[in-house]
Symmetry: C2
Subunit: 382 residues, 2 copies
């Protein structure tokens, strides 16, 4: 037992808690991992939450009006109760104190909570042992988000091939390449000539769930940057008070270059938002698949069908068409996810034959994002 | 098969559908009851949805720009698919047509849906056979909402005593009284000297679920009113284009007058919003109960506890105190629900002894709302 005593503002504590809570699994089997580690030291307050794969640490430095440490100390308390209590308190300063063994007192105005804690000894920590082979990169938060946000949705949700639940990150000289695929769809982002990171080439697989959480909690400020530390088995993201440490996925990521068709039979350009709206609409009846067809010059046809319920069809004028007419069927939800990941006003669809994936790319000078979707064999489209 | 053909605006159709859909049970065992009945007649479009207990009918009258009937006809289509489709269409006029047997064509701009329908023969209808004993009352919507909205939350969710899943409605001369209780809590609203409805005294039990749906779909306009038709086994609410018909609950509602304490040991007055905020907060740890106590003049204490997790306590200054100090424990969620149903700035709590329910009333000249909550026997409060 250590006798913690601090004052912290509700706003600061809520922000820190929201970030750290991303590491709490809803159905954690370990009691200590359903807890949040609270540690007050001379420099400030550190909150840590952890699951088997990832640990998130958030530091609130001492600050005159919002974070005052009177006595250092530490405890682990149930994360969900602690967060609910803090969220429902009135705004203002909160007093946290350990006055009895394994009990955290929370006080704000006339409100007093006593929350039963757990022993801190079992709680996992982030160990900052610098392995000599650890590679360190500093990247702007805006670039970090841009790189991962377009691809992370495409990871596999099945554990049958664990490497596919992650995003492949390759850095070589000044070029970054990220790839995610579940075997049916693929998303790739290449950023060239970023800056010289001064590290030897690296090639790792980061769990998709880690990246999804990271994208939610790192800030978007133009001036903020993140230090990325890549070891043999672990990756760490360090930005302002936040430290996210995650296991890397072991194994070899599949070679995907030969999946991307280099020769096309047809190419069309269409407005992104309009196509997305249509796909969201006809996906209501896309029980089996969505069929996309170009039969008449200048028009894209979309058809979907659910047996015994009905069918939907819609036409969209094309901005551009080159090559042969074609027809291909695929999973409507996957197609919709790809369209949602595209920022540019128009997109390009390239058809390389019924046996090859369809290539979808934003039409945008600066982007080198590429999506693949593998056709389904159906009566209509296959 | 009948050949329906209409044009209707997306907005009108969405509004009608949202109202009618309240009658669709999420897990209806009957295929036809998961459908919505669409009927076009010379006067307009009628949408009907039904479950075992309740039928909702919504009429859209013919209107130049938003509702045009070209050919009358009818069909039943799956409600959830139909609603999803209409919701996702672009704004503007929608064309509905039956061109093939049991297929509804839905068209809007370049969008076309074909939705498989069902036979209308099996679909339940509202039959407007006027029984001579049917009692008819016209009531302003504002009054109708005011009467039921404060009490409906207190019905029982258990089917063990079916009458308690309903709200008791008594009308006698110019007085209306509604009561809901689940045996632990009770809510009662009395409105006197409303107007002379010119009907013989009535005493029926309306299912709580019917009233919850009705409160959501009838409008709040100052000028709107609802015709209430009360038969032997059925009740109908008719307002603008909306008709809601529900079975009444059979049986005798318990006599509750002797539950309401007439003599009090103590009475306190406290600010409603502050008390609600405190109860919402300490309810986080109210696993077993909330204890409310007045020990020192001028202060209300609230304490809650969850074994092995922790406890919460808070004090609130009283606006008024008369009588002895007291302490009583009860279900925190029930107490919160009562506080949420109180509109007035302050409320009165009356204590009549540990074996009697606590009486909670808004402090408000015009209101005659009353809530009871039965104490729990606990170490702390019982």
């Amino acid at each position: 037992m250590r006798s913690l005593l601090i004052h912290v503002s509700k706003d600061s504590l809520s922000t820190a808690l929201q970030a750290a809570l991303k590491a709490i699994s809803a159905n954690s089997s370990s009691r200590v991992l359903s807890g949040i580690h609270i540690q007050a030291q001379a420099e400030g307050l550190t909150l840590t939450a952890s699951n088997i794969r990832m640990t998130i640490e958030y530091k609130l430095p001492v600050k005159m009006d919002s974070m005052i440490v009177h006595k250092p100390g530490e405890i682990v308390v149930p994360a969900c109760y602690f967060y609910e209590i803090i969220r429902k308190l009135d705004p203002g300063l909160i007093r946290l104190e350990i006055a009895e063994t394994l009990i955290l007192n929370i006080q704000s105005g006339y409100t007093q909570f006593r929350l039963c804690g757990m022993d801190t000894a079992e709680f996992p920590r982030i160990h900052y042992v610098d392995h000599p082979n650890t590679k360190k990169i500093r990247m702007k938060n805006t670039l970090l988000k841009q790189i991962f946000k377009h691809v992370v949705f495409a990871v596999s949700s099945l554990e049958t091939r664990p490497v596919l639940t992650g995003v492949s990150l390759q850095i070589d000289n000044q070029n970054i390449r990220v790839v995610a695929t579940d075997g049916i769809r693929l998303a790739q982002q290449v950023v060239e000539n970023v800056e010289d990171y001064g590290v030897s080439p690296l090639n790792v697989i980061i769990p998709g769930s880690t990246l999804e959480d990271l994208l939610k909690i790192i800030n978007d400020d133009e001036g903020s940057s993140t230090q990325i530390e890549i070891g043999q088995k672990q990756i760490r993201f360090i930005s302002d008070g936040l430290r996210v440490q995650s296991a890397l996925l072991e194994g070899t990521y599949p070679y995907v270059d030969n999946l991307i068709p280099q020769v096309y039979i047809s190419e069309v350009i269409v407005k992104t938002e309009r196509l997305l709206r249509v796909v969201e609409r006809i996906a209501i009846l896309a029980g089996e698949s969505v069929t996309l067809g170009v039969y008449h010059s200048g028009i894209l046809h979309l058809i979907s069908r659910t047996a015994d319920v009905g069918e939907a069809k819609e036409e969209i004028p094309l901005e551009y068409l080159e090559g042969e007419y074609f027809r291909v069927a695929f999973n409507g939800k996957y197609f919709r996810d790809i369209l949602r990941a595209i920022d540019s006003d128009t997109l390009r669809i390239r058809f390389a034959g019924k046996e090859r994936p369809l290539v979808i790319q934003p039409v945008d000078m600066t982007s080198s994002t590429l999506f693949l979707i593998t056709p389904m064999r159906t009566q209509d489209g296959g």
